[in-house]
């Protein structure tokens, strides 16, 4: 129970121009016990983060408002749609990474389109993850490790709360396992164990297939082929 309390401290800022998708991501995040704020544009996101846009014309100067040292509300992660009118998710990512006060906030990009060049561009610019839409509960399990990282970074700078944070740190591995378990739908076809072990071995041979890579590879096939076996085969998807 103490764990749930610690988790609820993580605050996620979700950015999407579609109301349906905002509702969805909000529910997904809340179900995963995060605190959530949603906004409908990149500029509102920057506003919420306390970054003024006044000097947008001159991107070489740090685009930071005078007394910005910490935004009033701590944000542990920003998750943003890629395709938005005006400021895209990519633009927002760049603004955050260019800002000395915000660059430690992890950014995750969501997109309905599986375009490898787009995914690479976002990852190169410092995005932690790239989620294909619609985002699933199982995707959200990948967020937690990134938030832990920022908490720890903050800890190095700060002096107080050391004890609390180190407790959180110790809990991490165990918590992670639990999260992974939670991410698997309870009612799945009981796949033969041996088969899934074989799959695991095969997968560990080609170590490189982390999530990012997989997304890109999928992108090589036409979009209509993107029928991931979401539930039926999930036991073998490690």
């Amino acid at each position: 129970m103490g764990m749930a309390a610690a988790e609820s401290q993580f605050h996620v800022l979700a950015v999407d121009d579609s109301l349906i998708d905002r509702k969805l991501i909000e529910r997904l995040l809340k179900t995963s016990s995060y605190q959530v704020t949603t906004v409908d544009s990149g500029s509102k996101a920057l506003e919420f983060l306390g970054l003024s846009e006044t000097d947008e014309s001159n991107p070489s100067t740090p685009s930071v408002s005078p007394n910005n040292h910490h935004q009033e509300v701590e944000v542990n992660l920003v998750i943003t749609d890629y395709c938005m009118p005006g400021m895209t998710g990519y633009d927002l990512l760049k603004k955050i990474k260019e800002s000395s006060s915000l660059r430690n906030i992890p950014v995750v990009i969501m997109s309905s389109e599986n375009v490898p060049s787009r995914i690479n561009r976002c990852l190169e610019e410092g995005a932690e993850e790239f989620f294909l839409k619609p985002v699933r509960l199982s995707d959200l399990n990948k967020l937690k490790p990134h938030m832990k990282k920022t908490k720890l970074k903050d800890q190095k700078q700060g002096t107080s709360e050391k004890l609390e944070n180190s407790e959180v740190q110790q809990l991490q591995p165990q918590q992670q396992i639990q999260n992974d378990l939670q991410g698997v739908p309870k009612s799945q076809d009981p796949q033969p164990e041996s088969e899934s072990h074989l799959e695991q071995q095969q997968q560990s041979l080609q170590q490189a297939n982390n999530n990012k890579r997989k997304t890109i590879e999928q992108g090589l096939s036409p979009e209509t082929d993107r029928t991931r076996p979401r539930y039926s085969g999930i036991a073998t998807v490690v």
Binding site: S18, I20, D21, K23, L28, T31, P185, T224, Y231
Partner: protein, 157 residues
């Protein structure tokens, strides 16, 4: 009708919607996100989808009716419709949107008009189906029953 029978009817109907491809696994995600704190989550999101779709279909009809069709604009509308249909799991609408976007790229006006018709038909179909599903749910709740939990394994994907 007794509750058990109504629940079986609801389950059969849900299953048929998956089997016939009107809905996909994403709709099940919505159902999983609904709990006692958010008992109307699915209905809320689906209602937003209805509003969104009707606006976009109107905009599309208008955009394709111009003398000089702005295919970029058409594509942007279809892109939105594809996004919201995929977010609620309205699979056949989503698939119709994918075809539609290909013809936008080709700037093929006749094919685009056919696709618009197709998308409209699929939208009306899934709207009717979902409204029927929600009506069945209301009937179950009205007699004090609860909506059965859908097990992914019961639906074949």
């Amino acid at each position: 009708m007794e509750v058990g029978q109504m629940q079986r009817q609801w389950l059969d109907y849900t299953r048929s919607l998956f089997l016939e491809g009107f809905l996909d696994a994403q709709f099940m995600q919505l159902q999983q996100l609904q709990d006692e704190n958010n008992p109307d989550f699915v209905v809320e999101v689906v209602s937003l989808f209805f509003q969104d779709s009707e606006r976009l279909l109107k905009d599309l009809t208008f955009a394709l009716d111009q003398n000089a069709v702005d295919f970029k604009k058409v594509d942007a509308h279809v892109h939105q419709l594809k996004g919201s249909s995929s977010s609620i799991g309205a699979q056949r609408v989503k698939n119709a949107c994918i075809d539609f976007r290909n013809f936008c790229e080709e700037q093929n006006i006749d094919a685009c008009l056919r696709c618009l018709q197709q998308v409209k038909e699929e939208y009306c179909l899934v709207k009717n189906k979902l409204e029927t599903l929600f009506r069945l749910e209301q009937q179950i709740v009205a007699v004090g029953g609860s909506i059965p939990l859908v097990e992914p394994t019961q639906m074949s994907f």
